[in-house]
Structure formats: structure tokens, C-alpha cells
Symmetry: C2
Subunit: 255 residues, 2 copies
């Protein structure tokens, strides 16, 4: 069986308060996709954050002294750095242009996941907004999943992805920041290979692999499609969480 990732064309621009269950269900219909048990919907972080009203007006942000200091070091807007600090547990690395943090959600990422582009519609001189990550992406995925499951009467999964930079390698890759109804990791330790050897060290980051696959089909710019329908995921659905994927600091040689 093949893995098929279909971008949902025609998703409208998402505004605060929009019901993503409605929007995704409509987009599925208009793309003539009738969900089956085991199908997965991958949604871009941006539309989930927007629907949840996670936009912040920079004019309303007052940077702390610490944010001013860090902003000078990172060569960034102190108001933006203030928000990054509010969204983080701690700063992991700073360098001009780059702030790597441990996000309050637990993962390490650049700029605390803040997004400055394409937040609120056409640029307006008087307004400058940034978008924060959803408050609890697993819960967001769970709510959307429940709604879609009720709507379609099928057992579905929902994942939220974002583009993350990485240590060691160039290029962002789609990364899972929240999920409901599928496992984040598949532990293959102890499975036998073709010849009966026991496999070593094989916990597979299946949610991140799917997040990367979906990201390929989302695009980034004007043709962006922020919702991807997935059929043929080769692992049984189950319960997963963002926290499963986060390497504990005590086991992390690079934090």
C-alpha cells in the first residue's frame, strides 16, 4: 500500500475564532476526499494558532530589561525577544540573528516558534503582529480530531506541524508540535530483522517523519496549502503526545 499525501486546495484564510473542524471538513469535501478509518490530517501550526487568536500586537508589548539586553546580543526587536522569553523556559544559544530556546512546550527551537509573516492579512503600517504557537498543541489536535471524527464517523488522527531548523544540517524540516490519535514514536527495539538478529537502537520518530512529509506538500509562500490529508500511514494508530518526542535534558548531549 502506498502513502498518499493530498494538499487540501482552497482552504480559506483563517481568522481568530474560526472553527478549523468546519474549514477542514469543507476542504475535504471540496477536494472530494471522503475520510476513511486511519486517515490523518496534518495542519500547519500557523492556521491553528490563528484560529486560536494567538496573535500579539507588538505595540502592546513592553520589553523587560533582560529582553533589551538579549535583543542587543541577538540583533532583534526587543518586543519580539520579550515574547520569545515569555514563551520559553530558557535560552539555549544566542548569536546575532539567532535565538535558540527551550520552548515552554519542552522542545528546543529557534525564536520560540514565533512567526512574523502573513499573520493578519495585508500589511498595515499601524499594526505589527506576531503569532505565537498554540497554547497546548496536543489539546488543539485532540479537539480538531474529535470534531472531524464526529463529522465523518471515522477513526482519524490529527497532527500539527511547524518548520524547524536543526543542528548540523541546513534547511528547515517539518516537525510535529502536537498530535492526537497517532503515536509519536514506534519502538522497534527487540524486533527481529530478516535473519533473526535483534535490532539495535531503533526508536523511530514516525510523527516527525510524517510531519516532514506533509511539510513538503504545504509549501511556504503564496501557493501554501496548510492542511494535508494522509492515507496509508503504515503504523497502527494509537495514543501519542508531544512530550514523548522530547529528549530529556539528561539524555541530551547538545542542550
Amino acid at each position: 500500500m502506498a502513502l498518499v499525501l493530498t494538499p487540501l486546495k482552497g482552504m480559506p484564510f483563517v481568522n481568530p475564532g474560526d472553527d478549523l473542524v468546519d474549514l477542514v471538513a469543507s476542504a475535504l469535501s471540496s477536494n472530494t476526499i471522503n475520510p476513511l478509518d486511519g486517515d490523518i490530517l496534518v495542519l500547519a501550526q500557523k492556521i491553528v494558532s490563528k484560529a486560536e487568536g494567538r496573535m500579539i500586537e507588538l505595540t502592546e508589548v513592553t520589553p523587560s530589561p533582560g529582553a533589551f539586553k538579549l535583543a542587543a546580543e541577538a540583533n532583534k526587536d526587543p518586543r519580539v525577544v520579550e515574547l520569545m522569553l515569555q514563551e520559553s523556559r530558557r535560552v539555549v544559544r544566542v548569536r546575532p540573528g539567532t535565538l535558540i530556546v527551550e520552548h515552554r512546550l519542552g522542545f528546543v527551537c529557534a525564536n520560540a516558534g514565533l512567526d512574523h509573516s502573513n499573520v493578519a492579512g495585508p500589511p498595515r503600517a499601524e499594526s505589527e503582529q506576531v503569532l505565537l504557537l498554540p497554547r497546548d498543541p496536543d489539546a488543539s489536535a485532540g479537539r480538531i480530531r474529535s470534531g472531524l471524527e464526529m463529522r465523518f464517523g471515522r477513526r482519524l488522527a490529527v497532527m500539527i506541524n511547524d518548520s524547524h531548523g536543526r543542528a548540523w544540517r541546513l534547511g528547515t524540516v517539518g516537525t510535529c508540535i502536537g498530535l492526537s490519535g497517532l503515536r509519536a514514536l514506534v519502538d522497534e527495539r527487540g524486533w527481529k530483522d530478516l535473519f533473526g538478529y535483534t535490532l539495535q537502537a531503533t526508536i523511530v520518530g514516525v510523527a516527525d517523519e510524517l510531519a516532514a512529509a506533509a511539510s513538503l506538500m504545504m509549501g511556504q509562500a503564496a501557493e501554501a496549502t496548510p492542511a494535508i490529508h494522509v492515507r496509508g500511514f503504515p503504523y497502527a494508530l494509537g495514543d501519542g503526545s508531544l512530550q514523548e518526542m522530547i529528549r530529556p535534558a539528561s539524555q541530551d548531549l547538545f542542550r
Copy 2:
């Protein structure tokens, strides 16, 4: 258009000297896939290394004093550590059970990409083999691509992937270690978003995203399918290389 990843069922066990062009072409036929211009084949590192005879008998490896010392620190077989050192430029981190190196090919990875499972067929007491990465994976991908293009008369791309661990997150993900006929990165800096904002910091690791997607369909254990056919890749094919994807040490905050 959808992205469709189809595992090629029925690939035989690969032995040194096997012609992967033959094996992949036969598997495409027996899976009734007729390649079209723009299709991509993703091959697991393991079959490329095996076809190229990159197995080493551990009984023939003599560890250096440095390998003995590092093996004690990493709690590993000194002969295996000797091979890891031969395959690396430098050691980045050591801890019991884990050796993170800068591979001679340039990327940072665990255990220099050495593979100890399922190398040569059924376990034999007298033989213990490990598998090294291909000598030049871009060149390997290029040869296989040329052969397949000649065979089918189509413009194709070939990628070799491997499962890599990551800083910060648990679970391995499929990662590109060599490619021919597609770009490793897509630079979207300067593209406009829906409302005319210029996108920031967006170089997308499209090859790694595809490597992750293909890895999902390869599986790891007895049902492994080491060759995946990809149709619907949303970026124009072009020239790419492994080196493009490697973050220069001078820009790497975690090396």
C-alpha cells in the same frame, strides 16, 4: 496533485556486486510501476552499501590505542570503534553507548553510520560483519540514476537515505545521505507570502523531508522494503549534493 510513496515489494536480498539498477528496475516492473519524468527513487543506505561491498569482517580489524581508549569510554567493541574513527573526521561527543562523530562525508551522526544488523545473511558464529556507508553516496545515486534513466528513457532522481538520531528529540528520522537529480535545499528567501510580505529565513530541507517520508514506508524489520518510488514531488528537479545540506561548522552552534 498528491505525493505518492510506493514501497517496492519483492526486492531481493542484496549481495556485494549486485546491480541495483537491475534490481530496482525489476522491482518497478513487478510492482507495475512505469516511471514517468520527475519520479524519484529513494533507496535505503543498507542496500547501496551492500551492493558496493562495504562489509568489513571484524576479525580483520586491529584497533589502534586511541580506539581502545575511546571504546572503553563509549562501552563499545574496540574494533567497531576503530572503524568508526576511520570513517570520521572527528569525534563530537562520547558517552557510554553513544559516539557522535563528524563523518568523513561531512555530516554529524551517531556511530559513523555503521550498521551491525542484518548485514550478510543468517548469523554465523565465525563471522561478524559491519556495514560502512557508501564511499561517495552522491556518486552512487548518480550511477543508479543514470542506469535507471537509460533503462526507462525518463528524467528521474535518486536519493539514498539512512535513519539518523537527532539533538533534542527522540526517535530516528530518515535523512538524505546522497542524491542525484534533485535539489537538497529550496531557497524561498525573498518569496512573497499571500499578502506580499517577504518570507524570512526559509531555506527548506526538501531532500531531508523526502528522505523522512520514504523512511516511513521502508520499515525497519522483517517486512522492510528498501526501495521507495515517489511520484508528485512538488519541486522542480535540479542538481543537488550532500554537501549543500551540511551546515558549515562556523555556522553551527551545536558542534
